[in-house]
């Protein structure tokens, strides 16, 4: 995904052809002035919205470098005096921040890999193979699509307990490695691919496994990438499930770690800002680097759901 990852489209919509109309010079000038005024108005709205939506993060970054007395001085100071890292150090002393980061990274990677592999395999099976009970099984999958995750948490907890996996990284990723939504999304994707290439490969003597691996998976790459990115975002940010299974701070992911950090430093906001920045920065970097893929993935999942 490296070759196109960085080329961000400057314009999402192709420029419309200008209507060919002849006008007097005065009218032309008035129209130009009007369009500048209109686009200026639009930019004011967009800038205000950007400040509203991204401003809290700027304030978070600035606060994370301030001392507690700087952050609580009245009248307030906007910029920190020094780029001090004390708050980051304090956050890492108060909670095992780096273990939490590792837990988040490992569980997100395993969970995402599992989702992509298991969902792609099952999705291809449902889209292209014919076997007894296929439609009935798929109907069961579809009905599970309507069951929200929270309903399943207590029994899932029991399973993890019986497997002696409470307070392990495996507990974080195990249920989430499988998914109905991913299977459904990719099944729709496979079903929409043309059958000609498969037919040709079969005539060349390729078996079903080979066709799946060498023909269909590469064709489904946009769908796989979309599923992977959506899983990364939801896995990284999830709170309720890890909160229930992992109560040992060293085994928590960052989401639960933040709630825990809040218990350690209830009122020291500079430290809380530093800790929460560590928690969100990896995903923001992934998003900014893979921006176009993420946005396409979201649009794609929206069109398929």
């Amino acid at each position: 995904m490296s070759e196109t990852a960085l080329d961000v489209p400057a314009r999402a919509v192709p420029r419309a052809p200008r209507p060919v109309v002849t006008r007097s010079a005065g009218e032309q000038a008035r129209r130009v002035a009007k369009s500048i005024a209109a686009s200026g108005g639009a930019h004011i709205v967009l800038i205000l919205a950007s400040v509203w939506l991204a401003g809290p993060f700027v304030w978070q970054v600035l606060t994370s470098f301030k001392s507690l007395s700087e952050a609580t001085s009245v009248p307030l100071t906007w910029l920190p005096q020094h780029l001090r890292l004390d708050n980051y150090k304090a956050a890492a002393i108060g909670v095992p921040l780096w273990s939490m980061l590792a837990n988040s990274v490992i569980s997100t990677i395993v969970r995402t890999s599992g989702q992509v592999v298991f969902c792609a395999m099952a999705a291809y099976g449902f889209a292209r193979l014919r076997f007894r009970g296929r439609n009935a099984l798929f109907a069961v999958y579809l009905s599970l699509l309507m069951v929200p995750a929270q309903l399943l948490i207590a029994p899932q907890y029991d399973i993890i307990l019986k497997l002696h996996l409470l307070n392990t990284v495996a507990a974080l990723f195990l249920p989430g490695m499988f998914g109905v939504f991913g299977t459904f999304l990719l099944r729709q994707f496979f079903a929409g691919l043309p059958t000609e290439l498969e037919e040709a490969a079969r005539l060349d003597g390729a078996n079903t496994g080979r066709i799946f691996w060498t023909v269909m998976l590469p064709l489904a790459r946009p769908g796989l990438v979309a599923l992977a990115l959506l899983t990364i975002i939801s896995s990284w940010n999830e709170l309720l499930w890890p909160l229930v299974v992992n109560t040992d701070p060293a085994k928590m992911p960052l989401s639960v770690g933040l709630a825990y950090l809040q218990g350690v430093y209830p009122t020291n906001y500079p430290i809380l800002m530093a800790g929460s920045l560590v928690a969100i920065l990896p995903l923001i970097i992934v998003f900014v680097v893979l921006q176009r893929r993420v946005l396409e993935g979201i649009a794609l999942s929206g069109s398929k759901a």
């Binding site: 192709p14 420029r15 709170l239 909160l243």
Partner: protein, 322 residues
């Protein structure tokens, strides 16, 4: 590759169209091969085992447990509809339900906001689109736990930006999240804020599907920007607006993270802010009353499905498909 435009999923113009699951017809054109069964087992088997263990079985288990009463040492006994009868008279649940409805209604305010922002961004020739999009999408990739902490700081009574700003205007700001009168609105604002970036992206994908010559033709006929927005954008975007509405309602009905981190278990305003899902968490995991918790969770699912079904029913009145 054959240009099969009806089913090509990469065709972005179809973004936002919601089709009921019934439309997912299974392909039937290929005759069955003998080797398919083995491959099917190999490919579908692992996912089916995982989903049965971690999803299907737990769903059935929760349904069963909702008819049981949990004992103090973890066992449970069958108690029929007792939990559901209790549910009907539970004032805490009624309060939580009301709070959840408020969050849902507030969250819906984000839908028109995202449509307006997306329309401004999608205008041909608009500059800095990529920059705006990144900034607006930041809340959507940020974990709710972090969002809650950042907003808690903004809402801080003495040093929060919001109250400092209000102070400049001569207004004494309230204790936003711990005052029962303002806590609900404080949470609702954050919930709406967090959903807008995602909405903008979905709406922009939908706007790409509107042919530009519609706007050109309307312009030639003298329609102003507002008229074009209401007569072209809104009707043609109605499937996407509908999709966003459904998603927003489902997400709001399942609010948990914001309450857990922004409000917290010891906050005096918890009864005025907690959601149905938070109440489920309290019963099932802090009070170890799994049976009653399951009844709450199951009722929430029924509510989500019912509300979504009503939305699908009502869409015929206002959603235009080509």
């Amino acid at each position: 590759m054959a240009p099969n435009t009806m089913t090509d999923p990469t065709r972005r113009t179809r973004a936002g169209r919601v089709r009921p699951p019934a439309a997912a017809s299974l392909p039937t054109r290929r005759p069955m091969r003998r080797s398919d069964a083995g491959w099917a087992l190999l490919l579908v088997g692992p996912a089916t085992v995982g989903l049965s263990l971690f999803y299907l079985w737990p769903a059935l288990e929760t349904f069963y447990e909702s008819f049981t009463t949990s004992g103090p040492f973890g066992g449970h006994t069958w108690s029929g509809l007792h939990n559901y009868a209790t549910l009907l008279h539970d004032t805490e649940l009624r309060g939580a339900l009301l709070n959840t409805v408020w969050y849902t209604l507030f969250g819906l305010l984000g839908v028109p906001v995202s449509l307006v922002l997306a329309t401004l961004l999608a205008k041909p020739g608009r500059r800095f689109v990529a920059g705006y999009r990144v900034l607006m999408f930041l809340p959507a990739v940020t974990m709710p736990a972090a969002i809650a902490i950042v907003w808690k700081w903004l809402y801080h009574h003495d040093y929060g930006l919001i109250n400092l700003g209000l102070g400049k205007l001569g207004v004494q700001g309230p204790y936003w999240v711990s005052d029962p009168h303002t806590a609900l609105i404080a949470v609702a604002i954050v919930g709406m804020w967090a959903g807008i970036g995602y909405g903008v992206i979905i709406m922009m994908a939908g706007l790409e599907g509107i042919p530009p010559h519609y706007y050109e033709a309307a312009k030639m006929d003298g329609a102003g920007p507002l008229r074009r927005f209401f007569s072209i954008t809104i009707p043609l975007m109605s499937p996407t607006i509908f999709f966003m509405t459904v998603l927003s309602v489902i997400a709001s009905l399942q609010t948990f993270d914001l309450i857990y981190v922004l409000i917290g278990s010891s906050n005096p305003s918890l009864p005025q802010t907690r959601t149905v899902l938070y109440l489920f968490y309290e019963h099932a995991f802090t009070q170890n009353d799994r049976g009653y918790g399951s009844a709450i969770a199951f009722s929430l699912v029924v509510l989500v499905i019912a509300v979504t079904a009503v939305q699908f029913k009502l869409q015929k009145r206002w959603v235009h498909y080509e």
